[in-house]
């Protein structure tokens, strides 16, 4: 099998696996990056969301061959110290309960904010409709999305800081 190369959280990565193997399992089982979660295996729940070239994708349904030569960012690479505006907002709004879906929620929300810096409730609904939270932390997730937008705006009001950790 030819090795597959991609950029993972800012660093070059080579894996030697079955090309059809979904990125999720490469991350979790081959590379030991367990922050990205398995939830459904059919791109139905959003727990496995990562960024590929800045776009949110369901890693459970993306063959690893599909990310060859691309930039992949996982929750571990969103920021070095958990200081991405979305992560700060998530802690401040006390969002997680069991927490299992939150990597996927956060990666989806971060991609939304990168695209739309001041999302409306309708934008949040559309972006996060397919991210299931069985603990029902939805009201807190919504608050945290708005707060993250605020943090983002505040940061941009003073300066244009470098991306924290090079997620995208």
């Amino acid at each position: 099998m030819p090795a597959i190369r991609f950029t993972l959280n800012g660093k070059s990565q080579t894996v030697d696996v079955v090309p059809a193997m979904p990125l999720l399992w490469v991350l979790r089982d081959t590379l030991g990056l367990t922050g990205t979660k398995f939830g459904c295996g059919m791109a139905l729940c959003g727990a496995c969301t990562v960024h590929v070239n800045g776009q949110p994708i369901r890693s459970c349904s993306m063959p690893v061959s599909g990310v060859a030569g691309k930039n992949v960012a996982t929750i571990e690479g969103l920021s070095a110290q958990g200081t991405h505006p979305v992560q700060r907002a998530w802690v401040e709004e006390d969002v997680p309960q069991c927490g299992y879906c939150q990597s996927g929620q956060i990666m989806t929300a971060a991609a939304l904010l990168a695209k739309k810096s001041v999302p409306t409730d309708a934008d949040i609904d559309e972006a996060l409709h397919n991210n299931i939270c069985r603990c029902g932390a939805y009201q807190a997730i919504r608050r945290a999305c708005h707060r993250a937008a605020q943090y983002h705006a505040e940061a941009n009001g003073f300066s244009r800081p470098a991306q924290d950790g090079g997620a995208e």
Binding site: M21, W25, T30, T34, C40, L44, Q87, D94, R134, C135
Partner: protein, 685 residues
């Protein structure tokens, strides 16, 4: 941690020697069944000032990490930022029945953990007083520091060693609720940072050197067995290492989960489907219905319901039915096990550590002290993780292959091999007096029992309503679909039945649903107060736009009183839950922020059941496999929820299961208010 050196008279607090230094205090939790010599929680104050609570609970989202730490911190007077909780591995030193079920963590820990905090604080103060040659009464503790009147101060870490040499105080004085500085104040979750950066370790995140990955193919028909199988094609799949038969099916072991799942697809298995291959949802419903004409086992009787019905001014009846429900926690079931000849270690996200320990002992034949269960974060439990089937499977596989292995259930396994919330059919009759007030109610339930009839009738037989003539009976109708605990258990369906029928009685008597409840709850002041608060905050009785309606749902479970008013809209054939007002009296609140989270959570869980959830059976098989077939509530369907706490100094109640029962009824009753149509079968949609 094993050398117990001192015991108090009452035997629930002890100091122990620890290799790590500092002060280690053992605690005995309420309700534990272990011998008196065994303790099940430990508080460690280290020389570096850090405070660690080791306790045999587990975190599945309900906030135990935070609220148990608050109980300790309140009396210990420690710096909140220095405290953390660990769930230690279970071993023979600990008591039985460790686990997290029945929303009991706060209730069993409320007093013992405060006593432990107070004892440790008194010992630290005494150690400082001795060092300074002053009376302990001249010293005070605050924020992990002991000070005296002369400006001297010493940190807890510096005092811990000396404190560990003192006796555990025999007289411990606890604060009154008026003195609380921590309890009752909202605290953010201690586990939130790790749950937003990918570091939190769930069971499924366990990684061991040399660990292999397994999936299991099980008979799609409940109770079926492997007749024969051909593993040759599975073994040819890249990465597949071994194929082994276990008690529940055939396990494929590979170098990663994906390859194991690919190998499983290549298995050829002949099943002996057993006796249940003809069972269907229709046959189950028919079996329930057959029992409705026959008297069941009496579960509650007050007055003479038959006579009251016979002489009633008006009678009504209604039949309600609910389907089986899956738990569908976001973290699919999984377990990691390393079985060695003389040792077995289990890493699990489980609600039942003791059950997991027993299961591992049973399969390996090892002694209690040779089996260690590590507790990891659960990605949801909701009752499913109180069962140990998935743990036993992983132990069997590791034992068979002689290597550490992680067993993962695919989502389809999780949904099709669950222990479901039972389906249930209930028939109600009710009688009204000449003024339209309820005077009699009968209820007959047909549903599979588990562990006795209680779960089939709780929420009916223990209703708070003072209806003078009441008769509740039940039939155990079990067609072999596995059933077990599901968030709020029997209340999850029976509160819907009872609260719906009460609404029907109100309507038949020409009464307002709030008025009827007020009258029947006159002797249950805590339930009534919650109802009044919810009704007031919801604006009960105020006009609503066309197509909108409000409904009430009350529950009294897990020691708490919960009242909800739901407002729904029914526009262009689409039901939407717009707003929910929930008032809860859960006794003394430990963490209001945690209570709010759990109320929100329970409502979302109940709404999935009310609006969407149904597991159906055909040819003995579950027909749903993943979230496209078993949908759950989404962010855009979450109503705006307001939580109001009824001030209370009563003993703490539970909260994790408080709001799930009532929301289902509140929405069903609101649907009637909006449309004039009764909901007698779930899901509503």
């Amino acid at each position: 941690m094993s050398t117990v050196v001192k015991a108090t008279r009452r035997g629930f607090l002890k100091t122990a020697a620890t290799a790590a230094g500092g002060l280690l205090l053992g605690v005995r939790l309420r309700g534990d069944t272990a011998p008196a010599s065994k303790l099940n929680a430990w508080v460690h104050i280290a020389p570096d000032d850090s405070v660690t609570l080791f306790i045999h609970k587990a975190e599945m989202g309900q906030g135990t990490v935070t609220s148990l730490s608050m109980l300790l911190a309140e009396e210990l007077e420690c710096d909140w930022s220095k405290i953390r909780t660990e769930f230690p591995g279970i071993d023979a030193a600990y008591g039985r029945n460790q686990g997290v079920v029945g929303s009991a963590s706060i209730r069993t820990s409320y007093e013992p953990l405060r006593r432990a905090g107070a004892a440790a604080r008194q010992m630290l103060v005494e150690a400082a007083a001795q060092q300074w040659g002053v009376a302990a009464s001249e010293c005070r503790a605050r924020n992990s520091m002991v000070t005296d009147g002369n400006g001297r101060h010493l940190g807890y870490g510096a005092l811990a060693e000396a404190a560990s040499k003192l006796s555990v105080p025999a007289n411990i004085t606890l604060k009154t609720p008026q003195q609380f500085m921590v309890i009752g104040k909202p605290h953010k979750r201690l586990d939130a940072p790790d749950k937003t950066n990918g570091r939190a370790q769930f069971g499924i995140d366990t990684r061991l050197p040399g660990m292999l990955h397994a999936v299991v193919e099980r008979c799609p028909v409940f109770g079926g067995k492997v007749a024969s199988f051909d593993a040759s094609k599975a073994k040819a799949v890249p990465g597949v290492k071994q194929v082994v038969q276990i008690s529940t099916g055939v396990a494929v072991v590979a170098d990663n989960t994906w390859n194991a799942a690919q190998g499983r697809k290549a298995l050829v298995i002949q099943w002996d489907e057993g006796a249940r291959a003809a069972v269907s949802s229709a046959s189950i419903s028919a079996a329930f219905a057959e029992h409705m004409s026959q008297p069941g086992a009496v579960q509650r009787q007050n007055g003479d319901a038959a006579a009251a019905l016979a002489g009633a001014a008006k009678k009504i009846e209604a039949t309600y039915e609910v389907p089986y429900l899956a738990h569908a926690p976001m973290e699919p079931l999984n377990c990691t096990v390393d079985v060695r000849p003389d040792r077995c270690e289990v890493w699990a996200s489980t609600q039942g550590q003791t059950a997991a320990h027993s299961e591992a002992m049973r399969i390996t034949g090892l002694k209690p002290e040779q089996v260690l269960v590590h507790t990891l974060y659960m990605g949801g439990g909701f009752g499913r993780r109180a069962r140990s089937d998935y743990i036993g499977e992983a132990v069997e596989i590791s034992k068979a292959i002689g290597a550490p292995v992680q067993l993962t259930w695919m989502r389809e396994d999780d949904m099709q091999q669950d222990w479901y919330r039972p389906a249930s059919l209930a028939h109600f009759t009710g009688a009204l007096d000449g003024d339209g007030w309820p005077v009699a109610l009968t209820s007959r339930v047909a549903s599979p029992y588990f562990g006795g009839p209680r779960t089939a009738v709780e929420g009916i037989a223990d209703m708070a309503y003072a209806i003078p003539n009441l008769h509740v009976d039940s039939h155990d109708v079990n067609l072999g679909i596995p059933v077990s605990y599901w968030r709020s258990v029997g209340y999850s369906q029976n509160t819907f039945f009872t609260e719906s029928f009460l609404d029907e009685l109100a309507s038949a008597g020409g009464k307002d649903p709030l008025e009827v409840r007020r009258r029947l709850l006159a002797k249950t002041p805590r339930m009534l107060a919650a109802l009044e608060l919810a009704a007031e905050k919801a604006g009960w009785g105020k006009p609503l736009p066309a197509g909108h309606g409000r409904g009430i749902g009350l529950s009294n479970n897990i020691g708490s009183f919960t009242a909800q008013v739901a407002e729904v809209s029914w526009l262009e054939g689409k039901l939407r839950v717009e707003r929910v007002v929930c008032a809860v009296d859960c006794g003394q609140v430990v963490n209001p922020a945690g209570v709010e989270q759990q109320i929100q959570s329970g409502i979302a869980f109940g709404l999935s059941a009310a609006l969407k959830g149904a597991i159906t059976i055909d040819k003995g098989r579950v027909q749903q496999g993943n979230f496209h077939q078993y949908d759950v509530l989404r962010i855009d369907e979450m109503p705006f929820v307001e939580v109001h706490l009824v001030p209370s100094e009563a003993a703490p109640g539970g909260i994790g299961e408080a709001s799930t029962p009532g929301i289902v009824a509140a929405v069903a009753n609101a649907f009637f208010a909006a449309t004039g149509k009764r909901v007698r079968k779930l899901p509503i949609a």
